[in-house]
Assembly symmetry: C2
Homo-oligomer: 434 residues x 2
Amino acid sequence: MAPSKKTYKGCRDFYPQDMRVRDFLFDRMRIIAEQFAYEAFDGPLLEEVALYKAKSGEELINEQIYSFTDRGGREVAIRPEMTPTLARMVANIHKQAAKPLRWYAIPNLMRYEKPQRGRVREHWQFNVDIFGAPTNLGEVEILELIVSFLTSFGATNEMFSILLNDRRVVDSVFTTLLSLDEDSSYKLYKVIDKAKKVSLEKLDQMINEILVKSEQQQIFKDYLNIANFEQLNSFLAKYKIEENCQEFVNFVSLIKDQPYTPFIQYDPTIVRGLDYYTGVVFEIFDKHPDNNRAIAGGGAYANLLQIFNETPLAGIGFGLGDVTLRDFLETHKLLPDLSKPEHDLIIYYTDDNNQNKSFELARKLRQEQLKIECNLGTIKFNKIIKSAENKGYTFVAIVEERDGKAQVQIKNLKDRDNKFFNLNETQEIIDFIK
Amino acid sequence: MAPSKKTYKGCRDFYPQDMRVRDFLFDRMRIIAEQFAYEAFDGPLLEEVALYKAKSGEELINEQIYSFTDRGGREVAIRPEMTPTLARMVANIHKQAAKPLRWYAIPNLMRYEKPQRGRVREHWQFNVDIFGAPTNLGEVEILELIVSFLTSFGATNEMFSILLNDRRVVDSVFTTLLSLDEDSSYKLYKVIDKAKKVSLEKLDQMINEILVKSEQQQIFKDYLNIANFEQLNSFLAKYKIEENCQEFVNFVSLIKDQPYTPFIQYDPTIVRGLDYYTGVVFEIFDKHPDNNRAIAGGGAYANLLQIFNETPLAGIGFGLGDVTLRDFLETHKLLPDLSKPEHDLIIYYTDDNNQNKSFELARKLRQEQLKIECNLGTIKFNKIIKSAENKGYTFVAIVEERDGKAQVQIKNLKDRDNKFFNLNETQEIIDFIK
């Protein structure tokens, strides 16, 4: 039986027109990360499962990971996220490395997911992290970087928000104000995660199952009602937990009156799961009603290296998926037209005698960094224009015999301009088509 | 117990200094492929095992593939090579697509290998293929492309050869001259693959086990002694198999007197295994005694789509691994110094009051596409030069108060040139450091 021609479930075939979009996005990731002096890194596709068990949420390990036993008996997994690999790599070198470390990566990751809009099994993720920066300044830089990235496509603060919170605020509410034990804290985290997705009645019901005392319920509702940084300050003052949250309060004053300030909004429902994060947490949220969802998330971690028994090294980072990014840009019509490849010129010849001369012309123009397609084999003269137009070219070269010697005719298909050159007039040809 | 800090066996961690090399190589692959108007594509990390069973050699499936059963009961594998994915994707679109298709990819692939020099478990492979070109012209283009790629690093024909053969020659020898059955053919292919790695006595012994008649032995030794294209022509004439090999003979005359001709050499031992290939086959061979091995290989296939019961579509392509490429370039000292990142400028401030001004200067310069590191936090003035030198910078900016207003001093650490600017003189600063 013939094997299937289908793509493996939840994965994507990138035909050239899709690959152009992917490369466009990845190039922009690299450009922005490097403008901020972040350095590219990558790790292996496989890691031992123990690495994920030590650091990731249970759901990820039990339900979402692609794991198997290798021929050497090792329990391994295809990386479902990059942070554990990053932690492992940093743990190997942080003692001798100059700080801060500024690293980025664009790895492919795999998770068992039910394929749906914005969610696939194999995706790429733009990961950016800074380790060992002075208090709050890594956070400032990371926020500016992600805003620079999205606005470089033309996105405005009408299109996305950065919803910001701090785990120290949440932990103070849970521990100091609500006196919750670990189990109840875990459950309430789950409720917060769902706060925006359920009805108010349902939310009330879920809260009341965990928080039995009415004072507790009141405090938690007060918390969920905080709508901006001013109200947060009032809340912290009212409940006398300012001291626990002083660093976050300082951070908020640092990011006042910056170019990225209009993008930032306090949101008490942002908690980013249970793992890693210990400080600032955030999500980039698409404001468009057709795509109202998170397109990236991140936060600060005081001690990612703990699992390796290394000395603490604070960091902050984010991950942004290629699928959610593309959905965001398409929803807001921020993607350029990439339906045709951007080659410079196509060369045709109508007579086999000009084949080698055509190849030679192609060679010379490629040496000048031009993208040149050489039409292989002869073609009838009257079919040239149509062929070139179908392929999306603006410029066509036709190598032909003229007055007893080989010449090249260059046609501009847009304005129908037309000129003859000798085959060695490379620079003149380049001037004509540029 | 803490998880291991080690990289998974046979895989690599790419710390920034290694990633710079990888990006340098990948960028060059993209540049050259696009100069030849090849378009990037990619497929999924996982494919169903059935796809490889239909097309790949037994050794690959039984011993080298990373396969497992997914949660949906599918037998899947991490791609060990790209050609089956390419075939599957082309099979989906070839009927309506304009020919030729020129595609390239740089996928990560995984194989169980015993790690050794030039061989790892996860590697990246530059794959370039053309489908549906007129007879022999795709072959010509692919050879020129790979020579352009390697010579773009400065490689010469003293450093590498393209060892060329044709499966139609081998098949004519095996079938028409030696009258071998399938089983003996298979065994003799294996002998040819080992011809250069064993002693002459051992080779004789292996040959004589398969070829029992002395006439057969003589023909095969004659074949193995062919040292160039002229001798090949004599051999084909002597044994009257010119007709079977006519296309290859035409091809050889096409690639005479081309700029890449000095790189090409006929080699009867190049057969490239049993699968895929039906025409021209080749290997790029490093001539350096310290790294005397193949760094890439490829060939022509008349009918890669056969397994999908599709109409035939001829193609030719090659694969070149990142590890063997790096070994080749390092052996011949063709890699540039990439030990330090190439950022343009680092900005320091010695007083918290200048923090926001420093961030603003960084922002303006980044908008001009410069790569700017902003030193986070204040630093003592006398520590600045040492800090910047350690990081490998040539230019340093120091934002400071001068005559009652904030200015920026730019220092060139190489020639110790030094100049003051106002913070809004972005263009003047760029002119100074460019």
